[in-house]
Subunit: 376 residues, 2 copies
Amino acid sequence: MSERVARAALSRLSEPGDVRLTTLVGRLGANRVYELLRDEQDVAGVYTDVAARLRGLDPAKELADAALKGIRFVCPEDDEWPRDLDDLDRAEPLQERGGAPLGLWVKGPLRLDEVCRSAAAVVGSRSATTYGAAVASDLAAHLGEHGVGVVSGAAFGIDQAAHRGALAVKGLTVAVLACGVDRAYPSAHRSLLDYIAETGLVVSELPPGCAPTRVRFLSRNRLIAALARGTVVVEAAVRSGALNTANWTTRLNRVLMGVPGPVTSAPSQGVHELIRARGAALVTRGEDVLELLAPSGSFLAEVPRAPMLVTDRLDDRERRVLDAVPVSRPAGEDSIARTAGVGEPDVRAAMERLAGLRLVEQTSVGWLRTGHTVQR
Amino acid sequence: MSERVARAALSRLSEPGDVRLTTLVGRLGANRVYELLRDEQDVAGVYTDVAARLRGLDPAKELADAALKGIRFVCPEDDEWPRDLDDLDRAEPLQERGGAPLGLWVKGPLRLDEVCRSAAAVVGSRSATTYGAAVASDLAAHLGEHGVGVVSGAAFGIDQAAHRGALAVKGLTVAVLACGVDRAYPSAHRSLLDYIAETGLVVSELPPGCAPTRVRFLSRNRLIAALARGTVVVEAAVRSGALNTANWTTRLNRVLMGVPGPVTSAPSQGVHELIRARGAALVTRGEDVLELLAPSGSFLAEVPRAPMLVTDRLDDRERRVLDAVPVSRPAGEDSIARTAGVGEPDVRAAMERLAGLRLVEQTSVGWLRTGHTVQR
């Protein structure tokens, strides 16, 4: 039996992120582990757990059935396997889950390894606010326009907004599910997932047909973090699954980013905590994300600046003199010197420059401010 | 002539933050510097600038007049002088301004040094949003309730909200002005300033009667930063004076803090930039500020947490078993084992614990979930 078929079998038998199993496969190979289990050998206690699922298993047929549905099984031996997934084997498990997946069930026209090379995960609360959803969508669209794939979990709220933002600009997007890629969860996202499968990628560690369970979401989150160079958390209440993805991001030495929001908004609380105490970088725009994900220094986001004013070109003393020039009743240079606390010779020099910039004008009885201080 | 009278004279002659003058005073004493200026000696170019103001100056009378208005002149020789102001003499000047003030004109019943020992500056945009004003006010009230004074600039927007928040809980508040403490700027804040002068402190580097000018606001900002242990910037557009106060805070090795807001809100942009690129700590509540200002470790803000659920007490395998128990049609232990991917002996043990927590119930044909998962 090929390693691929054995991996497909183990993928069906085990729960995702079972470190006992991935450790065994790393040591003995998938084929040998599957053989031991079929011989009812309770290696590392795995047999007891999978015994009920062993009966009637036909992995070769499963692979063929999946192929008929346009689903391929990507294994570590394949070119399409994203090498960065192997970081999971080196990372400390979290909540008893970890390790690289045995394989990934994939549907969609893109090459997973190519998309992941520069992708960003954009995740957050299911119960997002309109603010959060709009920010996630704008951010994803910006990433999409710059050829950066958007990885998310196809859930309600932020996930959905992120996928849609990327799709709206014909960007690349990857939905990572906690159930089989032939299922739609939530079912309201059937057409979204169909569209992603047509233009992007739908990915799962679970074989076709599998239902989502709570623990599978936790295992899924580690894949979202591992398939991207960094994770942006847009809104996350203190109990959000997005914080689990954030944990994995840090554990995998990926870039963790958070979008702030009103401090009065519960869905932003978790993000603020990530920035405050967990070292997440504060990002407000797609450009910030691009800067943080790009190889060091190759991309620098422009710092937002106010428009330049004519008065910005003045030095400190000229500015003081300008402030001392009246708006309505003209004043002489002696009076201006007194008000500004600047000597008369300097006042005279300053008036010349200020007049040249059309900031002041001379009348028969002294100097006056003109109204024009904003440069057009 | 006493140093105090000489300092009062120099305070009237010079513009605040004139480093030439503070350096001279540090070297020669205020009395000697004033003497040199009266002798028309142009030390460090100061005479030329102040010549027009020297005529008719009577500092002793100024001090007496101020006293009649309830205004005292606090000098470095006084017990009331906040020692931390001297940090300004050691800090690098910013925009050609710097140095400790020659003295402070003070109105109000509190001791400046005592209030400043634990005070926080709360500053921000004049054009604040209702969100920003509410946050500033809540934050200041929290600080006020914990005996931490609130220093601000009495401007429209965030400053006003900060003062009012402190006053609302009978907290200590200090208004630092860019004009004489007998003037109200903006004039709409006349009654606010009167109230602060009655219960807190109104402070300025400028003698009574002086008008506010643009450059005086910049000098004033350094005092706000210096009179507090740290500065919280609540909202600040990219051209806000609050960013100048933030610069001084960093320069003085005080704690710089920023309150995030919607990334779509212009008045929050400057704050996000402070957090993103200038090392400001993100704060969302008064508690965060207290924690950052307290001597290391003496105060720890409680991390917001969601309420504990019964299911939090389950281990990973128990949770998987629980997820596999159906809600409507009862299932046997063999079926649950298969769904959960957990061996039957473990399923039996788990069911016992889950039943004890009233998460599942046994029927004649198998197990069912109960509805109660939230702990009361």
